[in-house]
C-alpha cells in the first residue's frame, strides 16, 4: 500500500520516467529491427555468413550491461549524451533475438515452396516479399517480443550513466535503502514489459498466415 501511495504522490515523475524509459526502448528496438531483420535475411541466404554474424551477436549478449555502458562512455559523440549511449547499448543487446529469429524464420520456409516459387519464375525479391517474409513474420515478431522484454529490463541500468528512465527510482531506492522507491521503478517497468509483450503478441497473431 505504501508503494501505491508513493507512486500516486510522485505520479508526474513516474510518468516522466516511464516516458523516458519508453523512449529508450522504442528507439533501440526500432534500430535493432532495422539492422537485425535485414541481417537475418542476409545470413539465411548467404550461409557462409551465418556463423560469424551469430557469433558476434552472441558475444555482445555476454558483455555485462554495466560494463558495456562503461566501455562506451569515453566514445566521443556518443558519450556526450547519455541517452545516445543507452540507445546504442540497448540496440546491441536487442540484435541477437531479432537476427536469430529472422534467420530461423526464413530457414523454416518449406524448401518445396521455395523450389516451386523459383521454378515458376518469381524473382528473388518477389520470393522474399511475397513468400519468405510473410511465412517468417510471426517468428520474426516473436524475436522482437523477446528483444523488447529484454530491453525494458536492461534500460533500468541506463540510469546508472544518467540516461534516465525508471532505473532512476531503482538506483535512488537502493541508495536510500527504501524498498518503496525501488518498487516505484520496478513495478512500472514490469508493467511496461508485460504490455509490450502483449501488444507485439497481438500484432503477431493478426499477421500470422492462416
Amino acid at each position: 500500500m505504501n508503494v501505491i501511495r508513493f507512486l500516486l504522490q510522485n505520479r508526474t515523475q513516474v510518468l516522466e520516467l516511464t516516458g523516458e524509459h519508453l523512449w529508450l526502448v522504442g528507439w533501440s528496438t526500432l534500430f535493432a529491427m532495422l539492422i537485425g531483420i535485414p541481417l537475418g535475411i542476409l545470413i539465411a541466404h548467404r550461409k557462409q555468413l551465418n556463423k560469424p554474424v551469430l557469433a558476434a551477436a552472441n558475444i555482445i549478449q555476454t558483455i555485462p550491461s554495466l560494463a558495456l555502458f562503461g566501455f562506451l562512455l569515453p566514445v566521443p559523440w556518443l558519450g556526450d549524451r547519455a541517452e545516445r549511449l543507452a540507445i546504442l547499448a540497448l540496440t546491441l543487446y536487442a540484435l541477437l533475438p531479432i537476427i536469430r529469429n529472422t534467420y530461423s524464420g526464413i530457414l523454416g520456409v518449406d524448401p518445396a515452396v521455395l523450389e516451386a516459387g523459383k521454378g515458376m519464375g518469381l524473382t528473388e525479391s518477389q520470393l522474399l516479399f511475397q513468400v519468405e517474409l510473410p511465412l517468417a513474420i510471426s517468428m520474426i515478431l516473436s524475436g522482437v517480443r523477446v528483444a523488447i522484454v529484454i530491453s525494458v529490463g536492461l534500460a533500468t541500468i541506463a540510469a546508472a550513466i544518467g540516461a534516465g528512465g525508471l532505473g532512476e527510482f531503482i538506483f535512488r531506492g537502493l541508495a536510500m535503502v527504501d524498498n518503496r522507491v525501488i518498487l516505484a521503478g520496478a513495478i512500472p517497468a514490469a508493467v511496461l514489459a508485460l504490455l509490450a509483450d502483449f501488444g507485439v503478441g497481438w500484432v503477431e497473431r493478426r499477421l500470422k498466415p492462416r
Binding site: D110, A112, V113, L114, E115, A116, G117, K118, G119, M120, G121, L122, T123, Q126, Q130, V131, P134, L135, P209, R210
Partner: protein
C-alpha cells in the same frame, strides 16, 4: 522444342549426368524413367535452369536457355513437383493466379483464368477461397497443376507429381492428365520411377540409369525391348503392363 546437346553435370567431381543428348518434340509427353539417383530429376531441372550444366547446352524453343532471361524462361515453363509446394499463406485462387498477376494481367482477366483452370483440373469453384492445408492430397496436386498452367506455358515439367498420392487418386489424376493433354497439347517432360505410369502417360519413354540415357522408346517398343535395363523394368513390374500401354494411346 527442348533439346539437350552433350549435357553433363557434376557436383564435387561426382558425375550426376554424362553426355546427355535428347530431343523432346512439340506436344509430346516424354517420360524420364529411372531409379532414384539416375539423374532424371536433374535432367528436368536443367530445362528451367534450377540446375546449370557443367558442359553442353540445352535449347528451349530453339534458343539456348542460358542466353535467355532466366525469369522469362521460367514463366514460360510450368513446373509441378511431388511435394506440390503450394504457398500456404495464399488461397487456392491466389496460388493459381500468382504468375498471371505478376505478369500484370489485370484483375478481371486473372479471375477468369483462375475459374477456367479450376474447371480444367476438375475442382469446384467453391475451393477458390480455401487455403492449401484445407485440401486433400489429390486436390492439392490438382491446384499444383492448375498453378503451373497459370500463364498458359507451352512446356510443362512434372517431377513425380502423382508419386505421393494413394493409388485411387493417382489413377484418377493420371486419367485426367491424359484428357488434359489431349486438349492442351503441351510439351511435357514427366519424371517417374513407376513403369506403369510411364507406359500409360508417355508418348515416349527415356530410360535413365546411373546418369546416362539408356534408350528412348515408345511404350509398345519398351515392352518388347531386348535392352537389358528395359526388360529388367518390365520384369520387375510383372504382368498387366500391356493394358497400361494401350490406355495411354487410346
Amino acid at each position: 522444342m527442348i533439346e539437350f546437346r552433350d549435357v553433363s553435370y557434376s557436383v564435387n567431381g561426382v558425375h550426376v549426368l554424362a553426355g546427355l543428348n535428347l530431343h523432346v518434340a512439340h506436344g509430346e509427353t516424354l517420360v524420364l524413367l529411372g531409379r532414384s539417383g539416375s539423374g532424371k530429376t536433374t535432367t528436368l531441372k536443367l530445362v528451367n535452369r534450377l540446375v546449370n550444366p557443367t558442359s553442353g547446352e540445352i535449347r528451349v524453343n530453339g534458343e539456348r536457355n542460358d542466353q535467355t532471361d532466366l525469369i522469362r524462361l521460367r514463366r514460360g515453363i510450368g513446373y509441378v513437383i511431388q511435394e506440390v509446394g503450394l504457398f500456404p499463406h495464399f488461397t487456392v485462387a491466389q496460388n493459381i493466379g500468382l504468375v498471371p498477376k505478376i505478369e500484370r494481367w489485370g484483375e478481371e482477366r486473372v479471375r477468369t483464368r483462375v475459374r477456367e483452370l479450376l474447371q480444367l483440373v476438375g475442382l469446384g469453384e467453391e475451393l477458390a477461397v480455401r487455403y492449401p492445408r484445407q485440401l486433400s492430397g489429390g486436390q492439392r496436386q490438382r491446384v499444383g497443376v492448375a498453378r503451373a498452367l497459370g500463364a498458359d506455358p507451352a512446356i510443362l515439367l512434372m517431377d513425380e507429381p502423382f508419386g505421393a498420392l494413394d493409388p485411387l487418386t493417382r489413377d484418377e489424376l493420371q486419367r485426367e492428365f491424359l484428357l488434359l493433354q489431349q486438349r492442351l497439347q503441351k510439351t511435357v517432360v514427366f519424371v517417374t520411377h513407376d513403369l506403369r505410369e510411364a507406359l500409360r502417360l508417355g508418348s515416349r519413354i527415356a530410360l535413365m540409369e546411373a546418369g546416362k540415357l539408356v534408350t528412348v522408346l515408345t511404350p509398345h517398343e519398351f515392352l518388347k525391348s531386348s535392352d537389358p535395363w528395359a526388360s529388367a523394368y518390365v520384369h520387375a513390374f510383372g504382368d498387366g503392363l500391356e493394358s497400361a500401354a494401350n490406355r495411354g494411346s487410346s
